[in-house]
Assembly symmetry: C2
Homo-oligomer: 237 residues x 2
DNA sequence: CAGTGGTCTAGACCACATG
DNA sequence: ATGTGGTCTAGACCACTGT
């Protein structure tokens, strides 16, 4: 065997695959120090640029750990990441082929409650918030109950928006498209109000998505999205 | 104004930022066709390689849509993706600083029930499965109830593993580290058995992770992970 | 067919972390 | 101090796809 007699096209994809194979076959067990980029480039008869891209992507995908001077090592436990889309209710319903409908329940401007001020670390100037509750439907079926708080100081335009035709989510994505967010997923029990809107029994388990959004360090919005019975968030990795 | 008088270091990061700014400021509204890589390279006094990396990453992050010949366009609705790690219970507990404990409840080899055979599209040779139920604890607190099915034909080594000292999850990651998976997250109600193990009331909402794993097209395992009260899966994006 | 992105080459300089 | 990855340059050929 030895070197491949008919060297195949050595693209960065081929190199990624070959490196994965060597890890998989135990040639490079976890924690192994890989040869340097220069050495690999030589072995694969290619340039360091190409090797770099292959290794950089593998590191991004969780298989390798790279550090300057220290070199490239095989991760002890490959940390796999699922990539999951966080779609708007509207898009999610539309993707299922059902007609989407939005309905505002209530919109009110008011001072931020203490728990919200604490949760978002609101400054004195950010104490004025807008509370919006709304429903999203897939056809005639309740899809999602939205309970949202918007920091007026961070998005002044919200003061003049009634949210009776457009959902706060869609509106925000248009007004503040580039933001950072912290999301959490959990299970919770339906309270009386939510159960009536989602048409489930009180106490029924609901899939809950909570998200805090910032724009350049300023808190923009906190939202709780309660999903109807049977909802599953799926992904592949 | 016009051209920047003191041109700053034009790395691919700077270009990414500048492109994002132009989208954000409405200079390049959604659906806009961006200048070609060559033109941008010229504008930023850099090479096409650098521009390519900037745009490629922005496309990967969901901001741009790139097609040969068609060019690069601004996404209508930026599709944001959250990257979330799918850790082993053991790692998750350890990360919280609490002592981890594993306890096997039952392990039994048996023919696959019909629903499982259907769910995994099991062939005739894959009808023999191992059913494992186990608990994961954080200190003395129940953390996770694991209900797992392993296809014996796909992982023959499982036949001689008792799973009384090592959890099926940890064992599988060692034996079959490179697999594809389909994951779903949902909320469910605790049944009598699970509620007793997780020390919650029957009917209480539980966060449920379900995962099907394949190795080169062959079904390896199906697992349901029921998480204790108050569990939240968090991520940032 | 022609224009665009996709990728590779060959070489260089630099930042950084480790020894 | 030195080796490694991080990044950039300048140029080239190719693959795909819209016109």
């Amino acid at each position: 065997m030895g070197a491949d007699p008919v060297a195949r096209k050595m693209g960065f994809r081929t190199i990624k695959q070959e490196v994965l194979n060597r890890i998989r076959n135990g040639i490079w067990p976890p924690d192994t120090l890989l040869p340097s980029e220069a050495e690999l480039a030589d072995e694969f008869s290619t340039t360091r640029t190409t090797v770099n891209r292959a290794l950089r992507e593998l590191a991004e995908e969780g298989y390798l750990d790279r550090r300057r001077k220290a070199g490239t090592r095989v991760q002890r436990t490959p940390i796999r990441h699922a990539r999951l889309a966080i779609p708007q209710a509207e898009d999610e319903v539309a993707a299922s082929g059902q007609p989407y409908r939005y309905a505002l329940i209530r919109r009110e401007a008011r001072p931020a409650p203490d728990w919200l001020a604490a949760k978002l670390s609101l400054s004195a100037a950010q104490q004025s918030v807008i509370h919006v509750r709304a429903m999203h439907y897939a056809g005639s079926t309740p899809f999602q109950f939205e309970d949202r708080w918007i920091v007026e100081n961070s998005v002044p335009q919200a003061a003049s928006e009634g949210f009776d035709r457009i959902s706060p989510g869609s509106w925000l994505i248009r007004e503040v498209p580039f933001s950072n967010a912290e999301v959490s997923f959990s299970a919770t029990a339906a309270d009386m109000e939510i159960s009536s809107f989602l048409e489930v029994d009180v106490g029924d388990p609901l899939f809950l998505v909570e998200r805090i959004t910032w724009l350049e360090g300023n808190p923009v919005t906190f939202v709780r999205l309660f999903h109807g019975k049977g909802y599953k968030m799926k992904t592949v990795y």
